[in-house]
């Protein structure tokens, strides 16, 4: 009888337990020697996707480099909840300078390490979506274009959470934020042209670009590990739900991150040198309503009655991603 490949498949989560894996395939978080770069005691909200993503990403970077990482952090939730002076949750060398300059600060750190002949010390820059796709974009593009030896990670919670949930360039259409309230003839955030910084990063043809979500943390870790194998400018865009800003239940953070991927709203892929090298396929196609409904930021799409027109437009955006990135076999070209 031919050997059947083992399918690690748990209904609902698509995630397999660490116990089923070979020890060296297990998550960094499952190891005694994990570095706990963002250690306990910080002040993030319960269920904060950003805190989760940052811990997994940085611990993976630490493991990949033998603990030789220094980090630059933009202003934002991650910075504020982790460093109320004189306390700090960071167990790696860490600097916060400003909201819009983390990529440039990181570039300066990498330059310092090069000048000092300490290139074994690796630099990670990190920011929220606001610090990345909006106010930090010029510095980020400069860092990409120069191919500075920095891994930059964007924790995308789709809004300026730290200042009280205002819209950012990464806020999805129709979403309610503090300055895109569900009032007027077009409630919530406007349908704009969108701004995909992963694609902008790819246009710079930097060595590595990847997206990930906190629903698939092993995938996030693997992408950070891959990024640390390479030199030059690398970019990871991590999708991190924010219960406070989205009006979602704390326990739904992982579920929403998974639905963002399974609906096609957030394509998960990797690219090297400007070419897509891997796409995480959708396992079970899900209509966008399932993703939208549990979030109060979209409540106005369902009450007093369902706003089909807007929901259809959002669905059309997800379908376009599916075709464009080839998220489902046989649907669309997949040539990004």
């Amino acid at each position: 009888m031919a050997e059947q490949p083992v399918k690690h498949y748990q209904v609902g989560t698509f995630v397999i337990g660490n116990r089923l894996l070979d020890p060296d395939q297990r998550s960094v978080q499952a190891r005694m020697e994990r570095s706990n770069t963002l250690t306990s005691g910080h002040r993030a909200c319960r269920g904060c996707g950003e805190a989760l993503g940052a811990r997994y990403a940085l611990d993976a970077a630490m493991r990949a480099t033998g603990g030789s990482v220094i980090a630059a952090n933009a202003t934002g939730c991650l910075e504020v909840f982790s460093t109320p002076f004189p306390e700090s949750s960071w167990q790696l060398p860490w600097i916060h300078s400003l909201f819009g300059n983390a990529p440039a600060v990181a570039a300066g750190m990498a330059a310092a390490m090069k000048a000092k002949g300490r290139e074994e010390v690796r630099v990670v820059g990190q920011a929220g979506d606001g610090g990345t796709v909006d106010i930090g974009l010029a510095c980020l593009s400069g860092m990409f274009e120069r191919n500075d030896d920095v891994l930059f990670i964007c924790y995308d919670n789709e809004g300026y959470m730290n200042t009280g949930v205002q819209r950012s360039g990464a806020t999805p259409p129709a979403a309610r934020t503090a300055n895109t309230k569900p009032v007027g003839s077009e409630p919530g955030n406007a349908f704009g042209q969108g701004k995909s910084v992963p694609l902008i990063a790819m246009a710079h043809e930097i060595p590595y670009v990847a997206t990930a979500t906190v629903a698939e943390l092993r995938d996030l870790e693997a992408k950070v590990e891959r990024a640390m194998e390479l030199r030059g400018a690398r970019y990871i865009h991590a999708f991190v739900p924010c219960p406070l800003g989205w009006g979602s239940a704390s326990e739904d953070t992982i579920k929403l991150a998974r639905l963002a991927k399974e609906t096609g709203l957030f394509p998960v892929f990797a690219a090297e040198g400007g070419e897509v090298t891997a796409v995480s396929k959708i396992r079970r196609r899900t209509p966008v309503v399932e993703y939208l409904r549990p979030q109060r930021r979209f409540a106005h799409l369902f009450r007093p009655e369902e706003n089909r027109e807007v929901i259809d437009r959002i669905q059309a955006g997800a379908d376009r991603n599916i075709a464009r990135f080839g998220l489902i076999d046989g649907e669309g070209s997949g040539d990004v």
């Binding site: 002076f85 916060h96 300078s97 400003l98 440039a104 570039a107 310092a112 000092k116 510095c139």
Partner: protein, 418 residues
């Protein structure tokens, strides 16, 4: 060894002699020749190890210096005018973090109207940014101040801005003895900060400080600047022993011993002022000049001491607080208290030359009590032009851009629609 060379080249070579490990700069006139010169030196391998980052903006330039300095590298940048404003947020950040970055400021006006020529509006706009501000009178002094600046910055953990007049100094060819790397090595110890970003000792830098400690941090910044008032003269003194010439310090008097009238100024205009002082001295006028070499920290005591017997002070400055008055003048008043009669005179804005002739007329007016001390005086102001525009507004005229309104009042209008 004295060489005939452009001011910018002298600065580039002096900065290189200070062995910066990271340079990060963005071009803007009149700073360009300095950073171009440094780029040449790095590319040719004459300045090594050093990483030169061609950033996308001045904000990026200062930010990269912040990252480099926090990681323990000696960091340098240069800018001017709009560039300084573009990095304003990062300037405050560098000083608040106590990072000893050194920057050349090739002083230039700030627009609108856009103007590339020299004045001090850029430096003065950042006078409260927590940076130490030194002003050079000559290219020799500008070069020497950079060597002193690194030493001062790293000694006191504050960033230092070396201000030199754009074009007037940066683009002037004159004799300079460029400090040699060997002598600089002997004078300037290596940069060894107490806390750096290093995996061997993970520290958090730049945490969020609340009301319970913010005042203490700001106080420390202030106290360190005040300590610089003692350090700057001693660093200049050691420089003199090592290099055999006087440069820098806090203030420098010129023929002030028995002076009844003293002209105060910053930067290269002192040369012209001294010539006029000499002319008036020949006619028996007891007049002198006082160069302010260090504007931040403000050397109050030294100024008071230098001017203790002076009845009349003219502060000639190349910037002013719009809607309020002179900036240096205000600081001088603070230093002198009630005593002297202080005339605030604004000149040299946007590159308008401060000539010997206008300076002489001005001083003669002051000496003959023809200048009202309570009013802000503008050297060589074209009264007709401004009066015409003011009159138009008083008549209820419509708003519009200042410069273009002047032209329109003269009957010159923009292109016709097509």
């Amino acid at each position: 060894m004295l060489e005939q060379l452009e001011g910018s080249q002298a600065i580039a070579r002096t900065v290189a002699a200070c062995r910066p490990e990271v340079i990060s700069a963005y071009p803007i006139s009149p700073q360009t020749h300095i950073v171009e010169g440094l780029s040449d030196l790095v590319r040719a391998g004459d300045l090594a190890p050093c990483e030169y980052l061609m950033v996308e903006s001045e904000f990026g330039a200062m930010s990269a210096c912040i990252g480099a300095s926090a990681a323990g590298a000696r960091a340098y940048t240069a800018t001017a005018s709009q560039g300084l404003l573009y990095m304003a947020e990062a300037l405050y950040n560098a000083s608040g973090l106590g990072l000893p970055i050194v920057m050349t400021l090739a002083n230039r006006a700030i627009g609108a109207p856009i103007n590339i020529w020299n004045d001090h509006s850029d430096a003065m706009s950042q006078r409260d940014s927590g940076w130490i501000q030194l002003y050079a009178e000559t290219n020799q002094e500008a070069a020497d101040l950079h060597v002193q600046a690194f030493r001062l910055a790293e000694r006191i953990s504050l960033p230092v801005m070396v201000c030199m007049d754009g074009f007037i100094l940066t683009h002037a060819y004159e004799e300079v003895d460029v400090p040699s790397p060997e002598r600089v090595d002997a004078y300037l110890p290596p940069f060894e900060p107490r806390q750096v970003l290093d995996p061997d000792e993970p520290v958090t830098i730049g945490a969020m400080v609340g009301p319970e400690a913010f005042t203490e941090v700001r106080y420390l910044m202030h106290a360190k600047q005040l300590e610089a008032l003692d350090l700057i003269p001693s660093i200049a003194g050691e420089f003199e022993s090592a290099f055999g010439r006087r440069s820098g310090g806090l203030v420098r008097g010129y023929r002030i011993e028995d002076a009844e009238t003293v002209v105060i100024a910053l930067g290269s205009v002192l040369g012209t002022i001294e010539e006029v002082v000499d002319e008036l001295r020949e006619q028996g006028v007891r007049i002198g000049a006082l160069a302010i070499k260090c504007f931040r920290p403000w050397p109050s005591q030294e100024i008071r001491a230098a001017l203790s017997d002076v009845g009349r002070v003219i502060v000639l400055e190349k910037a002013f607080a719009v809607g309020a008055g002179g900036i240096v003048g205000q600081n001088v008043r603070l230093a002198l208290g009630g005593g002297a009669r202080i005339h605030d005179v604004i000149g040299g804005l946007g590159g308008r030359p401060i000539t010997r002739r206008s300076l002489r007329t001005l001083l003669e007016d002051v000496l003959a009590d023809r200048l009202e001390p309570r009013l802000l005086h503008f050297l060589d102001l074209d009264h007709d032009v401004v009066e015409r525009e003011l009159e138009r507004l008083r008549r209820g005229g419509r708003p519009g851009p200042h410069a273009e309104n002047i032209v329109r009042e003269l009957g010159i209008v923009a292109a016709r629609p097509h």
